[in-house]
Symmetry: C2
Subunit: 152 residues, 2 copies
DNA sequence: CCTTGACTTGAAGTTGACTTCAACTTCTAG
DNA sequence: CTAGAAGTTGAAGTCAACTTCAAGTCAAGG
């Protein structure tokens, strides 16, 4: 498969594929002239990368899970640890969501008088809620996976 | 309060406080000579900022919620929308966590043979799991909120 | 032959939230 | 008075994950 084919099938832009290759996350099997040719196994690797990202791993971390051979080599205790981390995050987010929703419904004229909101604020102030994990911003529109495209 | 005092009480570094001031998120009430003097209400503002960040808002979004006067002016429908977003995120994360944990326990010799893991991979490949929201990295150690310090 | 379009490269740009730096001014203690 | 700690500034640097750009290569079609 050439780079455009991989891009079309996975929705991952060509620039990203080159970037991943440079980073050592995927390998292009050979070149036809200048052009990369990818083995179809790259599709699985990309899925793995996607999953790793969803689990909050950095690309560097993900790379360390991929054997040079291509087969994933995943430390189960690392998985469990990541799951724990994720659960902790979920717990915090759940609290925030709950508090947010409560504050949205709160009949108090100002949030300054809503006890639930105050409690949330206190939690935030004490550092119980860690910051910085971004929700996807609509300012960064990305191509989604292209549906198999019959038109071309 | 001077900047160091605020930093100590909130755990927010002085550099961040200046940064927030430049951004218009907090206001220093006056200057004593060159030095900023903060009203104690800045503590509440910082808590609000912290909460906003935990809810996934950008600093710009947070600023738009803070009236020049200092009192929060929060659109309830925005809160509800953010809560919805959060819930969706929580749902995805829960799926990933579950899958991760299952894969960690999976008795198959390689994850290639674990059906749960395969399912996760498929979901990731299809874009059902969105990317990019970072868990706090230990490479970015931060001061935590200092306990009320009696020593000074 | 020559254009067009898909691909190649390395380098530089982007974004958000900060941090770090250099150079400078002030306050306080000795 | 003087040192040093702590404050000030604007500008530049950092980080991650990409994207964009300029400039170049190559195959195919008219």
């Amino acid at each position: 498969m050439d780079i455009a084919e991989v891009a079309k099938q996975t929705g991952v832009p060509a620039s990203t594929l080159r970037f991943y290759e440079k980073k050592g996350l995927i390998a292009s099997l050979s070149r036809e002239g200048l052009r990369r040719r990818f083995a179809s196994s790259v599709l699985d690797e990309l899925a793995l990368i996607s999953l790793g990202q969803a689990a909050g791993l950095s690309l560097d971390e993900i790379r360390s899970m991929i054997l040079p051979g291509g087969a994933p080599n995943i430390d189960r205790s690392l998985l469990a640890a990541k799951a724990d981390e994720l659960d902790a995050l979920i717990g915090r987010l759940t609290a925030v969501s709950y508090g947010l929703r409560h504050a949205a419904d709160c009949p108090a004229p100002s949030h300054a008088e809503c006890p639930t909101f105050q409690k949330l604020l206190k939690a935030a102030a004490s550092g119980a809620l860690e910051r910085r994990w971004q929700t996807p911003t609509d300012k960064a529109p990305r191509k989604r996976a292209a549906k198999p495209d019959t038109s071309s």
